[in-house]
Symmetry: C2
Subunit: 636 residues, 2 copies
Amino acid sequence: MSSSRSVRKLEVAAPVPADIDIANSVEPFHVSEIAKDLNLSPSHYDLYGKYKAKVLLSVLDELERNDDGYYVVVGGITPTPLGEGKSTTTVGLCQALGAYLDRKVVTCLRQPSQGPTFGIKGGAAGGGYSQVIPMDEFNLHLTGDIHAITAANNLLAAAIDTRIFHESTQSDKALFNRLCPPNKEGKRKFSDIMFRRLKKLGITKTQPEDLTPEEVTKFARLDIDPQSITWRRVMDVNDRFLRKITVGQGPEEKGMVRETGFDISVASEIMAVLALTTSLTDMRERLGKMVIGNSKAGDPITADDLGVGGALTVLMKDAINPTLMQTLEGTPVLVHAGPFANIAHGNSSIVADKIALKLVGTGGFVVTEAGFGADIGTEKFMNIKCRYSGLRPQCAVIVATIRALKMHGGGPAVVAGKPLDPAYLNENVPLVEAGCVNLARHIVNTKAYGVNVVVAVNKFSTDTEAEMNAVMHASMVAGAFNAVICTHHAHGGKGAVELGVAVQKACESVNQPLHYLYPLDISIKEKIEAIARSYGASGVEYSEQAEKQIEMYTRQGFSGLPICMAKTQYSFSHNAAEKGAPSGFMLPIRDVRASIGAGFIYPLVGTMSTMPGLPTRPCFYEIDLDTSTGKVVGLS
Amino acid sequence: MSSSRSVRKLEVAAPVPADIDIANSVEPFHVSEIAKDLNLSPSHYDLYGKYKAKVLLSVLDELERNDDGYYVVVGGITPTPLGEGKSTTTVGLCQALGAYLDRKVVTCLRQPSQGPTFGIKGGAAGGGYSQVIPMDEFNLHLTGDIHAITAANNLLAAAIDTRIFHESTQSDKALFNRLCPPNKEGKRKFSDIMFRRLKKLGITKTQPEDLTPEEVTKFARLDIDPQSITWRRVMDVNDRFLRKITVGQGPEEKGMVRETGFDISVASEIMAVLALTTSLTDMRERLGKMVIGNSKAGDPITADDLGVGGALTVLMKDAINPTLMQTLEGTPVLVHAGPFANIAHGNSSIVADKIALKLVGTGGFVVTEAGFGADIGTEKFMNIKCRYSGLRPQCAVIVATIRALKMHGGGPAVVAGKPLDPAYLNENVPLVEAGCVNLARHIVNTKAYGVNVVVAVNKFSTDTEAEMNAVMHASMVAGAFNAVICTHHAHGGKGAVELGVAVQKACESVNQPLHYLYPLDISIKEKIEAIARSYGASGVEYSEQAEKQIEMYTRQGFSGLPICMAKTQYSFSHNAAEKGAPSGFMLPIRDVRASIGAGFIYPLVGTMSTMPGLPTRPCFYEIDLDTSTGKVVGLS
């Protein structure tokens, strides 16, 4: 357990400068130095410039026999719209473990969408003295994974409309002959991918000429029901005008118009596949079995039915390798995958976590963040991600702020872009105490998985000792293993040393197996109801559409999948305005959809926007390149 | 002039194996070896894996005082739909110069669009024993430049529709206040980019509060005429259903629907900007002055008016660095930019050529390919690309095949996917001789620029000596410097040694300055007419729409730009069926458009498709990943 060579300790300034100024004040180590500290040799990674490298998945095979390090997930209480610093705490904790506590540590983070970087939100690399650097490379392009997802997603979309078009203008026989053209010797043959469809149809013949006319029809005519298509196009840009569009209006498309739309790229099922896959072979299978809609007879149509599962895998072959970067204090970070936290599961990739656990080895730490509040992020981490990975966390951190707890205690609404009410700036212990019901429920829910829970109070300069003591007391009463104050935003790793020590003890003293919230072999409704109860709901109400979909997925054989709830993160309930720890409500399920390739069913609790917009004055007004230095300016 | 260390000579097999099998039979050198041969140190480039590196533009400053090598452009005669092997000849010539003639050489190629790779066409890395490797990396993603273009193009598109939307719902004052929000001290200020618009409007005030209400309106309200918008969205996928679409049909867009469409990404003006820019500063200016449409008053609206020129530059900052790869024989290749050859100028980037010329130095060679036939590709290379770069080629190669010459001599139609007529497989010297009128006109036109012309006859196995002699004779009569037979497809560089020697002599003995076909300071119509005459036209007919556009661009001050004709490559004329060397026809100009940021006006001679489609059985049916080895299979 020798000290990493690349770590640095920060000289911090007060007041804390702007994020970009802090990020630019540090000259990053060459990423090969970061890799060397993890005992990675140049054959284990591909460089992408000086500060990014893709760690090759083959490292996993090489380290197969190594023991895993400790596995820590960072979730949060129900947040305000301003965010409570979950990413920042994740980074700060790792800086503490690596640069101050002399532990091997890897931070596993999601790749942010590029869209919001130019919209309202700005970047997502942490903040203050707890950041991933270089910040511009983290927020823009990275190593091209999201671009690969966009390309793959849209190739599949093009294949769908084109196939319907070609089926509409050709006889079964002509279609079949085009799909299996004669080779130079005049002989027709099936391409490899066609055997997947033949197998699905129960046809065991291997020569095109042996198929009966009925088999030719079954094989060649997918007969996609345009109304049933759930596959949409994607773009990594905040383009609200693409939310709902009509395609096919060109004269050559002969009137085959269709209403559809674009989502932002990170909402693509392919992003969820990337996050949940465990190997190249597994990714090939998941991409091939993604369902794009149904045939008119009601059977699911997959990417492999369209002949494109292999091409999608080829487009994604480099994306499966996580990207190595570094924190401000030189500790290693693996950035990989960034699925939506509502319609998908909001966690970074399984492969990054697996590689990281082997790289840190016994006594080391992998800290991974779960998107949204713990009711969604940590729940999905446990029941979807850990279920698919087989990994077992020892400790869950819950990030809390005095600000958010006051809101849950009954404080005035917190609105982004508007000044905070004085209630949030002056001491008010009763308000904090009242709000701790929200924290307590997150602690109880999280502890039920069999992990030790550490509460991290992300301290703001206006927070008082009495307020913080109230939180720590409430945490311990609710069953937390420990609760500590952190100042990593202002002080870097040094501000999270106490958190690091608490996490270490929590990991070392865990003594239960991992309990999932629900088994997979119960019905879709039973699974939904188990999750709803963890929110405090007394029951679930299904719309007619939801009932229909549940019935369909059950009939299609998909009821054994885990559930990925699409619910607001701003309340335990479906109503964002209900703060604290609501209970006794009926959770309404508006619709139920599925990501079959990724491997989950997602019930919609309310309307989820999957394509953000740009405000009147987007962030991009400030962003430019200093062409004399080549540096990015104005990124926040 | 010492031998490069990384070159290898190929062992060739007969008959020539499949392209992918040849590509996979060679283990590429680590790209750092290729870089070292060019005297590039690791500080001069960023690695992107083991076989690709981005050469940093800053190399140009370092080598400023070095002399340039010889500059060779490869064009072709008017091709058949099967292509006559221009890329293959470009690569083969370089393999000959580097691996057999002991010359420093760099091949400069366009980055292919990813769309066609999965459609009909397959990859574009050359063929046979003259290829760029690794072939899959060349054809897919490369180093993300096209993805960066897609992101930048679509950010601008989103900014346009969103701005119109926000202008439609806000008063001038509210709009202005949102655009210049108060900072923490309550003071409003302009962001840097806003001073570009203020300057354009002739407003010299620097404080928002000093603007008069009229100035507030002029500044804040772009008043874009939706009918005038020429900026379309792009995607690097063959998605015909996006050619014509309606956007804005979501309820939140409040009925602000608009008809528009997607082009394939390489048709984006940003691709043309990348190809024609000469520095980061120049790229910033070109991106900012791209015109997306007009205000209702008829004034051009630019990316900088929308506040997004800086963000576009940030998205493109790495794309400006060319990608270093290698040929099968280990000679260096710079891959950079791939603008459409019809609506844009179809040549690889100026910066790659400039860097390459410095890297090879005196006595070395840079060979760059011009898309389409020489009537379009070489013409645009000279009059647009060389005009912006200030570079001067010494030699132009014209690639010819017996097959294409027979077609021009009156042979039956050549159709992709159908067997060749026997006329093309058996000796027919008179047919070849008759077809040489096409070659002769390309020679005369190209020679007029003041370069020496070398004809490269790309030999097929069915070509006879008498046929080839006829071509060589006709070439010399038409004024070629030399004409030689090449067999680089079958033999690699060894098959192009004679071509290499001829090119070297042509470069060494050039004795005229570069003559452009037209000066810039004549009218748009005079320029169009000069180009039309080079096609053999006796005059030009303008549609009403073309007249209107020419008048508008002239009024807006853009008449000094060079002209980029959007014409079929399958004939000198506008009619693809007219082979040989037609003359006396009137060239019809259907419409006239402009890429103001890239820097050219493009008249449309006929309809140009800017979004390809997928066939019934696309290439993707064969493409898959061998998940046990991680290798791509089925790419052709």
